[in-house]
């Protein structure tokens, strides 16, 4: 079991007897510190998606499915193609990657885990942290070096996140893919 708060894009959960792949998670805070988690879910077996809201501590049955370590090969619209150590290729629908797609870039070396349901590749889980180049961010406004002041940045692959004010365009940064949070400049 996982709490809604622990779910990440790529996880597969069982709701009302059906498997759903988590495409996007968004955690916010309600009153008295309680977390609220909004999930975008795609039915694994049907062509249907839904948005759903949960208490952060709601327990979900996450399905343990077959997983394989793979590396990203190429994008053949609308499929992302991954390859295992024995050069077998697996196609995963772009839609199933959800927010994780922002971190899939050509030439990436990090290992991903491709998840299978009844023999079909249905989702991809990223490593918990990746290093990406900042392709654009505004110059530092305050000269702050404490790391507490944040500003928006775009990274290779087109994703956006908040980074520390001292980060510059061209810097390599480490990102927590579970939360889309800036960790440090590399």
């Amino acid at each position: 079991m996982k709490t809604a708060h622990e779910l990440r894009p790529g996880n597969v959960i069982m709701l009302d007897g059906s498997p759903w792949v988590v495409q996007k998670t968004e955690t916010t805070r309600s009153g008295r510190n309680a977390a609220i988690v909004k999930l975008k879910l795609k039915h694994v077996l049907q062509d249907s998606s839904t948005e759903s809201t949960f208490k952060g501590e709601d327990k979900m049955e996450d399905i343990i499915l077959e997983r394989l370590d793979c590396t990203y090969s190429y994008f053949a619209d609308p499929m992302y193609v991954f390859m295992d150590a024995e050069y077998n290729q697996y196609d995963v629908e772009a839609e199933n990657l959800g927010d994780a797609a922002a971190y899939i870039v050509d030439g990436m070396e990090e290992n991903c885990q491709v998840t299978f349901y009844e023999g079909k590749a249905i989702s991809v889980e990223l490593p918990t942290s990746v290093v990406r180049e900042v392709t654009y961010t505004e110059p530092s406004a305050r000269g702050d070096t404490s790391g507490k002041v944040m500003k928006p940045a775009t990274i290779t692959g087109g994703g956006t996140l908040s980074v520390a004010d001292f980060v510059k365009t061209g810097d390599m940064i480490e990102i927590d893919t579970r939360t889309n949070e800036f960790k440090k400049r590399v």
Partner: protein, 397 residues
Amino acid sequence: MTSQNSPERWDIFCAVVDNYGDIGVTWRLAKQLSAEQPIAITLWVDDLKSFSHILPALDPELVSQVHFGVTINQWSTPLAIAYQTGNVLIEAFACELPEQVKTSLIAMQQASKLDSSAAKPPLWLNLEYLSAESWVEGCHGLPSMQASGLKKYFYFPGFTAKTGGLICENKLFEKRDAWQLNLQNRQDLFASLGLSGIEPIDKVVSVFSYETKALLALCETWQDSEQTIHALFPKGRSLNSLQSILPCSIEELSAGMQIKLGNLVIHILPMTDQEGYDKLLWSCDFNIVRGEDSFLRAQWAAKPFIWHIYAQEDDYHLIKLDAFMQLYCNNLPPELAKSWKVLNLAFNNEQQELTASHWQKINLVDLPLLQHAKQWPIDAINDVDLVSRLVQFVKNS
């Protein structure tokens, strides 16, 4: 289930976390639903003693009783009164429903799956906390699929048309205007609360906050003010901040007592019900409020106020405060907006000097501020109140 001829029956479950916050909101909701809609309301509360502070007629020893047309049941574990499914079930502020209730919902769900003519479980809603943050629009009304196959919906109160709206009784603003038009009402109210020595020209501030050094700074400022300021305190957490300037311990204070400190007169308020509290807010020149229920009632009072928001981890409450202040200050003159924002922020951050200095910049007879306070409720209600939107939401679901 209720028959087609009988009115709808809704259940609201409320777990009291602090004294008057959750129960304050759910009691207002239950009363309004009962008074303005053809719905029989049952309110289940786990702490009737706390509830009785805002509903003095309530007997905390009774397991079931009726007030203002609302059936109030003691929520004990296990339930002393069997839960009978109605049309709608509301869990307030994500409280955990009793096992018996969840079991009966699941049983109904399973029965209706096997037999389409069987009664379906009630519509299950989680009424969330009020927030002005933009994400609320994206989460309001979304289903929450349960492993059991049941669906629960998250209902978010809010300030925009895409949210669940704000609790506001029918004709409330007209009643308030009529009250404020006759200055004698204020004097009569103060007299009925045992507050003496308040002249019609005196400035009066109500204080219902958590502990903060900023309150001490304000009181010290008020002591030196040019005119008399009466600060009305219920016996509670606000007073803990003032121990250093009080001539006695807080335990020795009782309703009706007054303490003169320079040009500040501190009055100790008796406990009052929600209607009495509304009138108090309508009658004061400035209100300091906390939490959710009194925060909203201060807005409906059409008077300037400070919101002492419930503190959250990592100062997340300041994000919520900022989101509200951005909305509230949209139509305020920039200088005034800045002063009001800084005053609220400084109060919440316990910044004594900043709170005191920005209090000086908020003129209590400032016409733009008063006009704004009067217009804001009309803008915030967005044509439709929470109860009306909630009933429509249920019809559409």
